[in-house]
Symmetry: C2
Subunit: 441 residues, 2 copies
Amino acid sequence: MVHHRGNNLHIVATSTALLTDHYELTMLEAALRSGAAHRRAVFEVFARRLPEGRRYGIVAGTGRVLDALENFRFGPEELDFLRERRIVDESTLRWLSEYRFSGDVYGYREGDVYFPGSPILVVEGTFAEAVMLETVILSILNHDCAIASAASRMTHAAGGRPLIEMGSRRTHEMAAVASARAAYIAGFATTSNLAAGRRYGIPTAGTAAHAFTLLHDSEADAFKAQLASLGPGTTLLVDTYDVEQAVRTAVELAGHRLGAVRIDSGDLALAAGEVRRLLDALGADQTRIVVTGDLDEHSIAALAVAPVDGYGVGTSLVTGSGAPTASLVYKLVARADESGELKPVAKRSVGKPSVGGRKHAYRRFDESGTAVAEIVCAHCDVPGPSDRPLLAQLVSGGEIVGREPLADARARHARAIAELPAPALQLSRGDVAIPTTLITA
Amino acid sequence: MVHHRGNNLHIVATSTALLTDHYELTMLEAALRSGAAHRRAVFEVFARRLPEGRRYGIVAGTGRVLDALENFRFGPEELDFLRERRIVDESTLRWLSEYRFSGDVYGYREGDVYFPGSPILVVEGTFAEAVMLETVILSILNHDCAIASAASRMTHAAGGRPLIEMGSRRTHEMAAVASARAAYIAGFATTSNLAAGRRYGIPTAGTAAHAFTLLHDSEADAFKAQLASLGPGTTLLVDTYDVEQAVRTAVELAGHRLGAVRIDSGDLALAAGEVRRLLDALGADQTRIVVTGDLDEHSIAALAVAPVDGYGVGTSLVTGSGAPTASLVYKLVARADESGELKPVAKRSVGKPSVGGRKHAYRRFDESGTAVAEIVCAHCDVPGPSDRPLLAQLVSGGEIVGREPLADARARHARAIAELPAPALQLSRGDVAIPTTLITA
């Protein structure tokens, strides 16, 4: 167990070393025995395809990968388990007890867009030290990219109106924290998740549920209690009994300074229109309307013409809006031979085109600054005049060098989206926004 | 932070108190101020519906809920965060610093089946102490029930052939551990996830990936290395280059005692048939065939006639096979009034039938022992002669009394499935297997 500092908070991190598939350790043992374990190797994380109909993906989770890498250590508890279960032999256990990743990692930065074939993460080291990271790296990136990719579409659909991430209850309790982080990168304004607030500094939001109204003897009692505690700027939930009556009660009790009302059921467009007219008629024309209740990017887009001031999104966000995993793979693309020379390798695959070897990646722009292609090439370490390099060094000789504030990732997302050609942002099922050009020569 | 003992392993557990939505704490503060916080309350976890076309659901996660409840404590780090962010006031912080759940919890046992309206978990306490548990309870149950429900269908489809859970890389790294646990409850034989092996004692399995073959100068070198390390009983992966040649090489090197071969791509039914004939022709008639590669319950069922000895399942398992969350809700169903009398409460909902008040639940059987109905009733604390009570006490006055070994949950799953009427086990989209009868009088 090591202590590390993230966002100026002390976090007690347990080892991530067993967030690993059994076969990674049996491969390690066999490769240590054959001697091939020490061959230099390059692994690459990429998606063969995007979820059906998606036009782009968003990179998220890289920062969490760096945290996991830092805590990837086999301590006495991990080694005892492996010994008791006889998963690997004693010489492998000794090797594991001294395990520190000593290689290099390059990757796309969080918030950037990606396409099929984009080398989102490149891990270089010995086969032994790199093969063991497969599962934990893929777990993090497959989850966080899936959530961020869905969140990005919702942010665009909301057209500047703020989005609240409130899906914690619909996903695994730790996935919830990571989901809040991914959504924030992709433009969500706040999260309901307190652990995400503490761990990552994300703004948190929330006021009251139906249970709070039901707890009290009347809706007016509940509103009074909430206003006494949170002040008139709070958001009152108005659909427990009768929306119209609730709005009248709310304005009566809070006055014109009432911050917002929340509608969580029914025909949200219709209800928002009626509530807006009523609020205005009651003089509460500054009171905002927040809507929640099984929203996704399509229903958010459909509410564009409704007088809505903010959206809360839960289930569809944390389940990736139909694509809960990003289909990223971690593939050995090159390894040294006996002479030490790095040789590209690739499985014989039907319908799975891939290029062996260590690659570079650039995004190419036209004169107006619009992205036109993703260039992935094996021998092109100098970008063209209109190319932006996409791979940043994240780990150098085992040392983490690629941390950045979450705000930088969030700003990068906004920029990267703005550079895409217009059709990329259509919500309908479509083709990938820009082609990925693999150059192997 | 507290230390607790699970499966005889010391686990350092951090506080679960911030795996909570912001609004639970603002409700707490407002209710403490209004005085209603101390009213006795009953919250119930249930599903209004199953995922589309599903005929039953499987309860999983209850044991993890008990772990989370035990670690739901506001220590200095949690309180400092809430103070710095001004999420609640000082008197609420004092209340939180002494927070211990002191109420009762009843629930369905893990591995049992559930239907719409089944009160899977019932939490009784003061409003204040019970309302705060909403998010962490729902996160755990919504995830674990979704995975177990998918896993159960796969187990049935496999018809006794063993299933390996290998989806860790396709889901959040901690959701992966919980997924392995849920799948094991629902009948999976093993998992690839080492953390699940250590934390929950689940058997783990795995041998080698394509990267191991690509690392070596030839497939034969790779197989030799694996056999030297893991012995002839291992499973050799035979689809890196040419399956037929790989099988010949494998038998040549390992002899007739070769444990198994794994096929991860192509037309699995066709390939399994060809490989079976080849293995038999080579004298390796005891060598098993394991297939992997984007399997779900439907493709598993379709392989029933193929000579397959085991299945590895990844993505579809950890994403709930189309239903990544179980749609469970945590609703206030009764609370005391000023006099202390418990009163049923319910939100006015269109199309959301619910019954207020504390309930009992029984499964009713016909003379042959087949389940015929789920009885949920408010005033029926004695089961009928053919009824089995479904709610067990899990927490009594704040003390956890409902822990059980995972093996018990796994055995219960097998029994509960065997009791269902035959149509329940069809994989096609259909109606809920047995009706839920709500008796309110």
